[in-house]
Amino acid sequence: MLVLEGVDVFYGRIQALHGLNLHVDDGEIVTLIGCNGAGKSTTLRTISGLLRPRRGGVTFDGKDLAALPPNRIVQLGLSHVPEGRRIFTNLTVRENLDMGAYLVRDPKARRERLDRVFALFPRLEERMDQPGGTLSGGEQQMLAIGRALMSRPRMLLLDEPSLGIAPILVKEIFDEIARINREEGTTILLVEQNANLALHRATRGYVLETGRIVLEDDTKNLLQNPQVKEAYLG
């Protein structure tokens, strides 16, 4: 479904990704783990079009993404929940969700998506008219995910959904993510610091170190891998 081949990405003169190869198949949950500054967010930003690769190809269902602006990429069914949530704090919860469905013109379809998101995260419905900035961290993360789901994506890119959230809420959020994958068949690429959690939820995983993929395997093998155990599961 999603294929990255030999992708090089630069910030000015600094190279952040070196010949990255990665693929995600239909219906999978794939995780990308690595230390701070390994280039995980950079990878997601490249896929969703916020960054342009200098070399290499990014394709989604065979379509070349590398030359498309982010708004066209969203249209193809790829939705990115950025690191740090990035909800619109001055817009209400409802307006945030409306923005998620910016490209959905049909009011009926929007309504359906809204109901679906409220079914997944009932708390959002209770806080519908509150400005996004007044939500708690966990609620903001739910809003960020809900907002990304509003466009009914076929694939979801999640960047550290557990960041700064209490363990109990993290479990709740991960349960919902798994449910989205199961019930709607949404493919998921999950970036996490919390490798333990991510490897238990995903089917396959990649390990990224300083902009290079150093390991790629099924998660059950990765969980047994001594290197991974040493570096990420400690």
């Binding site: 982010p70 249209q75 990115h80 990035r86 817009l91 307006e95 409306d98 910016y102």
Partner: protein, 365 residues
């Protein structure tokens, strides 16, 4: 006193119309769009051409319809023209520098403003031109014996260059009557029509701008709060990358913001030039600066702030010199009103940079 207050409010309403564009553009790309005053000037010139040359006021309809229609046409042309210029400017001058940093963008804006000013001088000359006041067209035959106001007769004549122009002559002074002899003479000289200069009552112009602001404010509020594009504008202004991830085409949203801001400024442009009776390529400079001050006073980035700031500045510009003159006997106080506005700007920037309604934002440089 009341007269000064009303004058101030009307002037303030004009500032508010212009300030809206500053505030919207600043809100979305953090750029002080210096050229905004020139968009306004361009709109005022288009309105000028419509009023002078299109002849809407000569339509054979019952009064005051032709006069009203001529101003509606002028406002439409001014708004659309200013909006179009804003979109073009954004595309060729601002979009390329959007990522070059705020100072580079600001200098670009200053330069664009001067370039547009000087292009306007090249196109239309530097001299101020009289802005057409409301005119009521009357067939020479229809004129009753007495005329209440200045009457002008119009005749088409061929210049030595072979160009056909309309020649205007004042035939009757205000208050005097058009007698049969004069009428016969006019017809003999080939004047087909006569118009009456409708004296522009200050009360009317003031009422018009205040009413226009009253009508526009809710429209804008609705556009920004309720429409899809308005929500997208707010989203882009808060976090443009996150907005792109929603599928929002930020270039379109920014272009639309420029358009809307300049569209509203077009209304202000015509109103300003009608009340001052002239238009020139420098028309945009001072009101543009004032409107920026108004936006800062109200809290730049805030739409209600721009309206409030405009009204506050207009009133201050009228009442402070009034108070200085009446209270301190300083006769020249009104000549200093522009300096008062700038002093107000510096005070606000130093003591309350977020303005009256602005949110406190922590900004990195």
């Amino acid at each position: 006193m009341l007269d000064y207050l009303l004058n101030g409010l009307a002037l303030g309403a004009i500032f508010a119309f212009i300030a809206l564009g500053y505030t919207m553009v600043y809100g979305i790309i953090k750029l002080i769009n210096f050229a905004h005053g020139e968009f306004f000037m361009f709109g005022a010139f288009l309105g000028f051409f419509v009023l002078r040359d299109l002849g809407v006021e000569r339509l054979p309809l019952p009064q005051p319809l032709p006069i009203l229609l001529s101003y509606v046409a002028a406002l439409t042309a001014a708004s659309l023209g200013a909006g179009a210029l804003a979109v073009v400017t954004e595309r060729i001058a601002y979009r390329p520098v959007r990522r070059a940093g705020r100072i580079a963008a600001l200098i670009t804006a200053v330069c664009v403003s001067l370039i547009l000013q000087n292009l306007a001088i090249k196109a239309w000359g530097a001299k101020p031109q009289a802005y057409p006041q409301p005119r009521e067209w009357i067939d020479t035959d229809d004129l009753a014996g007495a005329a209440p106001a200045n009457l002008y007769a119009v005749k088409r004549v061929e210049t030595t260059g072979g160009e056909v122009v309309e020649n205007e002559v004042r035939v009757v002074e205000a208050g005097a009557a058009l007698d049969d002899a004069t009428r016969a003479r006019l017809r003999a000289e080939g004047h087909e029509r006569v118009y009456r200069q409708v004296p522009l009552d200050r009360g009317w112009t003031r009422g018009f701008v205040l009413l226009a602001l009253l009508l526009w404010a809710p429209v804008l509020w609705f556009l920004v709060k309720r429409t899809r594009m308005g929500k997208a504008m707010r989203a882009v202004s808060e976090d443009s990358d996150a907005a792109r991830l929603m599928g929002i085409d930020i270039n379109r949203v920014i272009a639309w913001t420029f358009f809307l801001g300049a569209f509203v400024a077009g209304v202000g442009g015509v109103a300003y030039c009608v009340s001052y009776g002239k238009v020139e390529p420098l028309t945009g400079f001072l009101p543009g600066m004032k409107a920026f001050i108004a936006a800062v006073i109200g809290g730049i980035g805030s739409i209600p702030g721009a309206i409030l700031g405009g009204l506050v500045l207009g009133t201050a510009e009228s009442l402070i010199p009034y108070a200085l003159r009446e209270g301190l006997g300083w006769e020249a106080a009104f000549a200093w009103k522009d300096a008062i506005a700038f002093a107000l700007l510096i005070l606000i920037l130093v003591f309350r940079p977020t303005g009256i309604l602005g949110r406190a934002v922590r900004e990195k440089v």
